[in-house]
Symmetry: C2
Subunit: 245 residues, 2 copies
């Protein structure tokens, strides 16, 4: 598809026109230099995508007229929520961008024992807003019609306590193998919670809690990976086992 794609959450089957937000409107008018009649695509972030045309451009606002729905890129067979320990700014941005492109169903930033990023960097709503924009842009660029929800930052304990038994997958460093039950990826669950730790890995306390919950360790090879690379490698490993779609 060579037509530019835009995210419009209001788009739906019974909707005729949608407006773009300010950033996208600017991109359409100033960067792509499109005007009335230009063909584009619109996705709503919930799995719907349509052909559309620019209806009118007025100063910094753009209205699009929706056309026929189009087939969308298939979503993965398992809804995998990636619970991602907070990394420092650009690494977290990369991790969220790439987890979105690799098909994450939702992204939950977590604070675990070894997170070193100071709380002022993530406990305002600004950080979450930024991560949500990154997820939208990554969905736009990767051709997904679904945008993973990015939740506010949560505590490791709260996230794992709420997870379904047996559907917790933990990306582990080479050194942790053996502490948690080896991979149970042969069974394809309906949903899974995939935990990715910070640079320093999981604390002994956390590993104990995960073992008690019956979490499955997924060893991402014998080499040490940069933390922001782990979601990409973990999701690829899951899809290779469970199918990409």
């Amino acid at each position: 598809v060579s037509e530019p794609r835009f995210h419009a959450p209001a788009a739906d089957a019974d909707v005729r026109t949608v407006s773009l937000d300010a950033d996208d409107a600017h991109h359409l008018i100033r960067v792509l230099r499109l005007g009335p009649g230009a063909p584009v695509r619109v996705f709503n972030g919930r799995g719907g995508e349509w052909r559309a045309r620019v209806a009118d451009v007025h100063r910094a606002s753009v209205r699009l007229e929706l056309g026929d729905p189009v087939p969308t890129a298939p979503e993965p067979p398992v809804a995998v929520t990636v619970a991602l320990a907070v990394l420092k700014g650009d690494q977290m941005d990369t991790a969220i961008r790439d987890a979105t492109a690799l098909g994450a169903y939702a992204i939950v930033p977590i604070v675990s024992d070894r997170v070193t990023v100071p709380s002022r960097a993530w406990n305002s709503g600004r950080a979450v807003d930024r991560w949500r924009r990154i997820a939208v842009q990554s969905a736009r660029q990767s051709g997904r019609a679904f945008v993973p929800d990015v939740t506010p930052v949560r505590a490791f304990d709260d996230v794992v306590a709420g997870a379904a038994a047996g559907a917790i997958l933990v990306a582990t460093e080479p050194s942790v193998t053996g502490s948690i039950e080896a991979s149970g990826l042969d069974h394809r669950p309906a949903t899974a919670l995939a935990l990715v730790g910070p640079e320093g890995g999981w604390s002994p306390r956390e590993i104990g809690a995960l073992r008690d919950l019956g979490a499955h360790a997924v060893r991402l090879g014998p080499r040490t990976l940069r933390a922001e690379l782990a979601p990409t490698v973990l999701l690829t490993a899951l899809w290779m086992r469970w199918g990409w779609q």
Copy 2:
């Protein structure tokens, strides 16, 4: 291993002491603030790694005394050469860093029809020197004792013409599937050439050449990936099929 690792190509079984290059010496003296007697590790980039101690520090030069060899992180079961279309600066750096961390055996930057980076950016020796330094640093950080060779930039035609029939793997976009024979990853070759294209993908001429050579398409899911992410996803997919070590 919490001891800092250093790359010293001269290290070998019959060598007693090695010197560090200027950058690593600076890192040891100024950043880590280590002095005589401090324990470190040394790897030679060809699969050898040793315990070592700082023997002496003199201004900006450091000599290390080698001790016992240590077990190294296992290498992958297939020597995969990643032939990577030249991307713009920081994307290429990321791709080389990550291909190294994911276990590439060698990295061959290539110019294919749709490479858009101007030749002045890569046809001096400087670019290759930079990429080699990135591969060394990535091996250091990821715990590899082997550093992939990064060759000078070569032409797509030359690289594929020299490849063993049947051992060419092509990372393809969703749209290319069907043009090249579907994946033959069930067979585990001794070596493989893994081709990763530029942002614009492969030209029809290149796809034709690859088909004629019996190349195998490896589809990296139904979503469009950023070019610098493709080596990571491709190598992970290969190791999931062939084993990580």
